[in-house]
């Protein structure tokens, strides 16, 4: 979340709660709703590393709030983040390790493992279909995020089928 907050702050200075709202507004329900405590902890770390800086702003009738802005060093880190290629999705899947290793010990048989995993993936897929239907159709980032999750899951399902063909 560090770099996501940094990106928002590079757009305009904001306080913690505004960052939470901005994330929710941009990604809708598709983003794991950030907890405000987490945001403050992350901001604290960013500040310690010199990537953001906070200034106290006085408010009438209320405690001061701290508004953060992105520093030059922060800007550099952000540029680097944007400019470098992003790691692809994992290839060493935890389920796959189970699938290969568990039968060796006699703990489980592969057919049963694969069948259970398929049903589990389908349940997640159903949730994603639900989520897409509940999410504002015009919120393109949120819809694309969900679609991306579906495509990854479909690849996992297809891979599972290949495993079933070859390993059982």
């Amino acid at each position: 979340m560090r770099l996501h907050l940094l990106a928002l702050l590079a757009k305009e200075p904001a306080h913690g709660y505004e960052l939470k709202q901005a994330l929710e507004q941009i990604f809708g329900t598709a983003y794991p709703s950030p907890n405000i405590g987490q945001i403050y902890v992350t901001l604290g770390r960013l500040e310690k590393d010199g990537l953001v800086s906070g200034v106290d702003v006085e408010q009438s009738n209320r405690p001061n709030k701290k508004v953060y802005y992105c520093t030059a060093a922060g800007r550099e880190v952000l540029d680097e983040w944007v400019d470098s290629p992003t790691e692809g999705p994992r290839v060493r899947d935890e389920f796959f390790m189970k699938l290969v290793l568990a039968p060796l010990t006699g703990i489980a048989d592969r057919m049963a493992l694969i069948n259970r995993q398929r049903r589990h993936y389908l349940a997640i897929m159903r949730d994603l279909v639900d989520l897409a239907q509940r999410t504002d159709h015009d919120n393109r980032p949120a819809q694309l995020l969900i679609e991306g999750a579906m495509l990854h899951l479909q690849a996992d399902l297809d891979w599972l089928e290949r495993c079933q063909e070859e390993l059982t």
């Binding site: 709703s33 389908l122 949730d127 089928e161």
Partner: protein, 252 residues
């Protein structure tokens, strides 16, 4: 429509169903002893690798291919022994079928393709038209009603085929990869329609690779080498708090 003898019967039941193709003297066992039971109103997804016998199975259930041995029952009536013309009647009255390769009638408009099965089954023209308008509308094809099938894209033809299969409100909908040619947006329309007719009580047996479609089903049957290797409910709905934080995990 249900008669006393049909009440309480499964919509579809097979007993030790076998299909062996004979190609050039070499027997190819495509379906090897399938026992399947589908209750009325149930939505069953059939999954499995290519060549595992999915198409052969649903073709036999729809009478489009003959079985080698075993039994097929539709609503309590044994049907594997029916002749071709009796099957034609059964399909017209009770079974909707979506083929992997559409099979639309080329010299008829999209609207006529969809209305025809209902008209053949004795539905009034007005009723058939209303149903057609509803189905094409749900599938985003309202403006294609007067087109010829050949003028449509593969994905559009596939949706017309689905509308046609549902025109008659069949007792059982059989479908072979009905979203194979669709992009995300069109698949969404199909998902919505399948969900809706299923809620209205439509029995569905559907072959698919698409997890989004299979996820809608009550039950998933997995075939491998012509045999059922898994048959059961999709894992129970997971409870997600309001949003989807725990569904869509962002990498950090």
């Amino acid at each position: 429509m249900t008669t006393a003898s049909e009440a309480g019967q499964p919509a579809i039941r097979t007993v030790n169903l076998v299909k062996i193709y004979q190609t050039g003297g070499l027997p190819v066992p495509a379906v090897r002893g399938v026992d399947l039971r589908v209750e009325p109103g149930e939505f069953v997804a059939v999954m499995g690798p290519s060549g595992s016998g999915k198409s052969t199975l649903v073709h036999m259930l729809g009478g489009l291919d003959t079985r080698t041995s075993g039994e097929i029952w539709v609503e309590g009536r044994r049907v594997d022994t029916l002749n071709e013309s009796a099957w034609a009647v059964l399909r017209r009255q009770q079974i909707g079928f979506v083929f992997q390769f559409f099979n639309l009638v080329d010299n008829m408009t999209v609207a006529d393709n969809v209305e025809l099965p209902a008209l053949l089954a004795g539905t009034t023209p007005r009723h058939a038209r209303e149903r057609r308008e509803y189905l094409l509308g749900e599938l985003g094809l309202a403006d294609k009603a007067d087109s010829a099938p050949a003028q449509l894209s593969g994905g559009e033809q596939q949706r017309v085929a689905l509308a046609r299969a549902l025109a008659n409100q069949p007792r059982v909908l059989l479908a072979d990869e009905p979203t194979g040619n669709l992009d995300s947006r069109n698949t969404r329309d199909v998902l919505r329609l399948l969900g809706e007719v299923h809620r209205q009580g439509q029995t569905i047996v559907l072959v698919t690779h698409d997890g989004r479609v299979a996820g809608l089903a009550d039950r998933v049957v997995t075939l491998l080498d012509g045999q059922i290797v898994d048959d059961g409910a999709v894992a129970p709905r997971r409870r997600t708090r309001g949003g989807a934080g725990d569904v869509v995990e962002l990498r950090s």
